[in-house]
Symmetry: C2
Subunit: 298 residues, 2 copies
C-alpha cells in the first residue's frame, strides 16, 4: 500500500471520497476544498447546504487534483441536509442506495465480455463528520454508521475542531471511540504492517482517531508566514498546524499513505460482501429472492 502503489496508478484513478455528514454547518464543503486545494465549492458554486435545502440528496462532483506530479480524479459524493429535518428516519437510505448502485455498476461491468475498460466508481471511503458537541455520539450518528459500516470504509472526523480546547478534544475523542466500540461500529481499520516506520505512522493515526479537523481556504499571514487558517479576534487557528488539528494527518492518509488500502478493502471486503449477497439472492431458479421476499419464501 501507500505512495508507490498510488503513483503506480499512472495518472488517472477514480477513487471516490464521499463526505457524508451529520448535518449542515459542520464545515464539510470547506474541508473538502481544503483537503484537495480546489475550489469545488466557491461563491459562484456554493456548497450543497447553500444551494439545496431540507432534503437529503446525493450529489456527485469530480475534482482533478495533482499530487506529487500525478494527476488524480476524485469523485466526491455529498449529502446536503443530512440530519437536518425534524424527522430523520431513513435519511441514510439515499446514501445506501448510492453505494449499492455503484457496486451494481461494477458488478455489471465485471460480467461483460470485454472487461478492459472497467471504470471503478465505487465508494472507497466515507468521511463521517461528528458535530463537535463534546458530548459523544448522537443516536443518529450511531444509527447512520451502523447502517453503513458493512458497505464502506468509514473514517470518523470531528468537524470544526477549533471549537474544542485541546483538553476537551482529547476527552471527546476518547468518549467517541468508547461509544464506537460499545455499539460495535466497524470503522475503517488501519492495516497492520511489519515496516517499523509505517507501523509508527499507523499507531500515530490510530491514537488520534477520530481525526479532529478544521477547514479553511483563507490565507492569513501569521508571523510572516502565509498559512491557511481561521482568523479569530483571539488568534489564528491554523489548518495545517499539527498542534491545532489533525488536518494534515487526514490529507496524507487519504491521498497518499492509505488510498490504495482503502481501495483494496473496498474491493476485497465491501464489494465481495455485496457480490455474494447479490449472488445468493439470485440462486433459486434465477428469481431474485431479495425483490420478492415475503411472497416466495416457502
Amino acid at each position: 500500500f501507500g505512495l508507490s502503489c498510488f503513483s503506480g496508478l499512472s495518472g488517472l484513478s477514480p477513487p471516490s471520497a464521499p463526505a457524508f455528514h451529520r448535518e449542515s454547518g459542520l464545515g464539510k464543503s470547506t474541508l473538502i476544498n481544503s483537503l484537495f486545494l480546489t475550489d469545488l465549492y466557491s461563491p459562484e458554486y456554493p456548497g450543497p447546504s447553500h444551494r439545496i435545502k431540507k432534503t437529503v440528496q446525493v450529489e456527485q462532483s469530480k475534482v482533478l487534483i495533482k499530487e506529487g506530479g500525478v494527476q488524480l480524479l476524485l469523485t466526491i459524493v455529498d449529502t446536503p441536509g443530512f440530519g437536518d429535518a425534524v424527522d430523520n428516519s431513513n435519511c441514510w437510505q439515499p446514501v445506501i442506495d448510492h453505494i449499492d448502485s455503484k457496486f451494481e455498476d461494477y458488478l455489471n461491468a465485471e460480467s461483460r465480455v470485454n472487461r478492459r475498460q472497467m471504470p471503478d466508481s465505487r465508494v472507497h471511503c466515507c468521511l463521517y463528520f461528528i458535530a463537535p458537541s463534546g458530548h459523544g455520539l448522537k443516536p443518529l450518528d450511531i444509527e447512520f454508521m451502523k447502517r453503513l459500516h458493512e458497505k464502506v470504509n468509514i473514517i470518523p472526523l470531528i468537524a470544526k475542531a477549533d471549537t474544542l480546547t485541546p483538553e476537551e478534544c482529547q476527552q471527546f475523542k476518547k468518549q467517541i471511540m468508547r461509544e464506537i466500540q460499545e455499539h460495535k461500529i466497524k470503522i475503517y481499520e488501519f492495516p497492520e504492517t511489519d515496516d517499523e516506520e509505517e507501523s509508527k505512522l499507523v499507531k500515530k493515526i490510530k491514537d488520534r482517531l477520530p481525526l479532529a479537523v478544521v477547514g479553511s481556504n483563507t490565507i492569513i499571514e501569521v508571523n510572516g508566514k502565509r498559512v491557511r487558517g481561521r482568523q479569530y479576534p483571539w488568534g489564528v487557528a491554523e489548518v495545517e498546524n499539527g498542534e491545532h488539528c489533525d488536518f494534515t494527518i487526514l490529507r496524507n492518509m487519504l491521498i497518499r499513505t492509505h488510498m490504495q488500502d482503502l481501495k483494496d478493502v473496498t474491493n476485497n471486503v465491501h464489494y465481495e460482501n455485496y457480490r455474494s449477497r447479490k449472488l445468493a439472492a439470485v440462486t433459486y431458479n434465477g428469481v431474485d429472492n431479495n425483490k420478492n421476499k415475503g411472497q416466495l419464501t416457502k
Copy 2:
C-alpha cells in the same frame, strides 16, 4: 423597567429563565453557569446532557444569585436531549406542557380567596440556542420557535459563537434575522422608550440579535488579568470581552435592564392569552370544550 424595578423585588423573586436549546453540545449548561456565576452544573452534578440521554425531558433547578446586593431566586428549566433523536416530531410538546402547566398553576392561585401568597413560577424567558452552523436556521429551529412564540418571550442566541469568525458571525446574524422575519417568528421585542440612554442601549442590543454567546467557567490569565475564557492553542476567547462575543450584553439584559419587562410581557401578553383561551374554552355550560373537542362541537 430596569435595575430599579429589579431591586424593588425585595430580595426574592422567582423569574424563570429556561434555556431551551436545539441539541446537546451547544454549551448550554456552561453558559448558564457563566451567566449566573454559579455552579449549577459541576463535575459532581453535571449538566443534563451528561446525565440523561436520548429523551426530551423538562428539568428544573433553582439558583440563588446575588446582583447588586439583592438576592434573586432563579428557576432554570432545561430540556436535555432536545432535537437529538432520529425523529424529533413533537419534541417541543414537553416544553409547551411545562409552560402551560405554570400558567395553569398561576391561574389557580389567582382564583383562590387568599391571593396574598402567589408564587409566580411562570416562564418569563426562553433562551433559544441556535447551532453556530453559519447556514441559517434549521427546520426544527423554525418549528420550535413557532410553536413557542405565542407562549413565552424568546431570545435567540448563537451558541458557541467562538466557532465563528467576526465576519461569519455578522453574516450569520443577518441571515437568522431575515429568516425569523420571513417565517413570521415573534421573538421578544425590546420595548421602545423615550429615555435617550435607554433607547441607545436597546438599539445596541437589537442590532446584535441574535446574541452570540460563549460560556466558560475557567479562569485564565491573559496579560496579567484574570478572565473567564476558553484557552485555545491560538489564543484565549474571552467570555466577557465585548469584542469576542455578546455575553455581557445578554447577562445585563437578563438580570438587570430587561428582567422586569420580561416579567411584564409574560404577565400582560402571554399569560393573558393563555387565560382568555382557557376561559373561552369553559364558557359553554361549564364544559371544557378544549378537552372534548370533536364530540361537542355542534
